[in-house]
Assembly symmetry: C2
Homo-oligomer: 324 residues x 2
């Protein structure tokens, strides 16, 4: 009986055995390092879960699923350089532990190794898989570029922000689900539904990230609640607040954004209050619900026996209900 | 009648029409920029020339040939960040004209676009081409890592240096020739000969670069003669000199290497004299001849009608005889 837990275990085993390359050590050690930092591996899990709708031989999707995760971690390694991030999952980032040049070059070879994991796909599927992988990968880069562009702008619209997170985060979740179907012969309509399911759930997932940073339970959240507020990160909440705030709300919001020297807790409390007053919390929760519903509807509409969808269904519900 | 000049023209036309992506402009403009800086395009030309041995339909190799050139320029964009290089072909490097983050991310998407150019290869060839492309690409990264490692070492051996330039430069020339054969149905023995031809000529080519930097004709060379000497770049000549120099040659060589404040012309003249006295010039010229001969022998041994090899032969002789 296939369960998300079983597939995750198989994935972890495969990753623990996988070799990315040996010499020179300076080039390959950072790949082992970032992969060892963990992460929920939910992208490759989505691929295996969607493959298992169409076949009991989900193993044939294992290496391509791993390609998605290796690609994702490559983007983290390079994004951390660009974002000047000191920590990743509580540990030093690659450019901090080694240096920026090492993180650039190890990331490059990591992207190449992701493509290596696509080898072995049946020849008649290779062209389609490669085309979709490339398109998704380029879109993720486009999303990161937009994210960096937005750092310098204070007039980012809701639509622009949603498009950015779609590219940076959601398309890879869409592709992860689509890939499982692609590898196991799902028809075009099913592939589109799988993609839509992943893309919409990715949107909900990212917006929930934004929401939990402010309104998450500190005991469960693991990071400092309000971290995004402290750093003026342009989240969905801040962008909404900037577009809505008038009068004293606007004055207050701009005061806290521009404050160079401030008490962190005081800023978090003040901005959180503004969010509440402007109904940003409710509005964001509603958006998240809408995206998750669209995603679940796409899965529901997938023309496959309900029984075969159970493992994916189980996992997706865990994703939707997470509160940390 | 196929000639190297005709194929080069077709390549230039194809590159001038090729679109790498549009939005966001910050992401894609640097790709257009670095590709517009020119370069001899001899890697994709090698692919078309080897394809034209086996088929008159060399056009089927055009996009894969372009993939090799786009990959090569991706490595230049990222290497320039790592080497902190201000200029590339006399123009500002991407990280100078924009910034390092842009050069990282545009490079990333450029590597993805190189893979895009492999789409359209016949399905039954795709797996083999992708595997060889990946292996070559990873080796080029390994070569760049070794090159960076060597900057911090003064005990690099001749064998280590030759292995580094093999990885950083030669394997891509080997693959460029092999690819033309791969796409047009050359047998395994021929593929190995094509690869050996490119790899050995790549070695000769890189060593000639090292040699011309010191002993090139200033009127033809285009760069400052002795630039490598001024910057203590670990070329084949310097590594040989370090392994041979004894007595006053050693003292003099170490003096100039360690000199913080010096007259550039004086240093170039003094180190050049040491190279001459230690027979490094003759030795390097001999090595270059050996590699070119091995390369030419591999081509000679290629089981194909002599008439079909003429265009490749013509071009290879231009490469061997270049003095700038």
């Amino acid at each position: 009986m296939i369960t998300p837990e079983l597939l995750l275990q198989e994935l972890q085993t495969a990753f623990s055995k996988h070799k990315y390359g040996a010499e020179p050590g300076e080039l390959y050690a950072p790949i082992g390092y970032i992969m060892s930092l963990g992460g929920k591996r939910f992208r490759p899990l989505l691929t295996l879960l969607s493959a298992s709708i169409y076949t009991d031989e989900w193993q044939s999707a294992l290496r391509p699923a791993m390609a998605v995760e290796v690609f994702h971690n490559f983007t983290l390694m390079h994004d951390d350089i660009m974002d000047n991030a000191p920590l990743r999952r509580g540990e030093p980032t690659v450019h901090e532990k080694w240096n920026a040049n090492t993180a650039i070059l190890s990331g490059d070879v990591m992207l190449i190794r992701a493509y290596d994991l696509l080898l072995g796909i049946r020849p008649e599927l290779m062209g389609k898989v490669l085309a979709r992988f490339n398109q998704t990968a380029a879109e993720v880069c486009e999303g990161q570029q937009l994210d960096m562009n937005f750092e310098k702008r204070w007039d980012v619209t809701e639509a622009e922000y949603l498009n950015m997170i779609r590219l940076k985060t959601s398309v890879l979740l869409g592709f992860a689900l689509e890939l499982g179907g692609l590898l196991t012969g799902a028809d075009e309509a099913s592939l589109q539904l799988l993609y839509a399911a992943g893309e919409n759930m990715g949107m909900g997932f990212q917006l929930k990230d934004d929401l939990l940073d402010v309104f998450g339970d500190p005991a469960k959240f693991g990071k400092q609640v309000g971290g995004d507020i402290i750093s003026n990160k342009k989240t969905f909440l801040l962008i909404e607040a900037l577009s809505r705030a008038e009068g004293t709300y606007r004055t207050d919001l701009e005061y806290w954004i521009n404050a160079a020297d401030f008490d962190k807790n005081e800023k978090v409390q003040a901005v959180t209050k503004i969010y509440e007053a402007l109904d940003i919390r409710t509005f964001t929760e509603q958006k998240i619900r809408e995206y998750f519903e669209k995603g679940l509807n796409a899965l529901e509409g997938l023309p496959a026996p309900d029984g075969r969808k159970i493992p994916l269904w189980q996992f997706v519900h865990q994703l939707v209900e997470r509160d940390k």
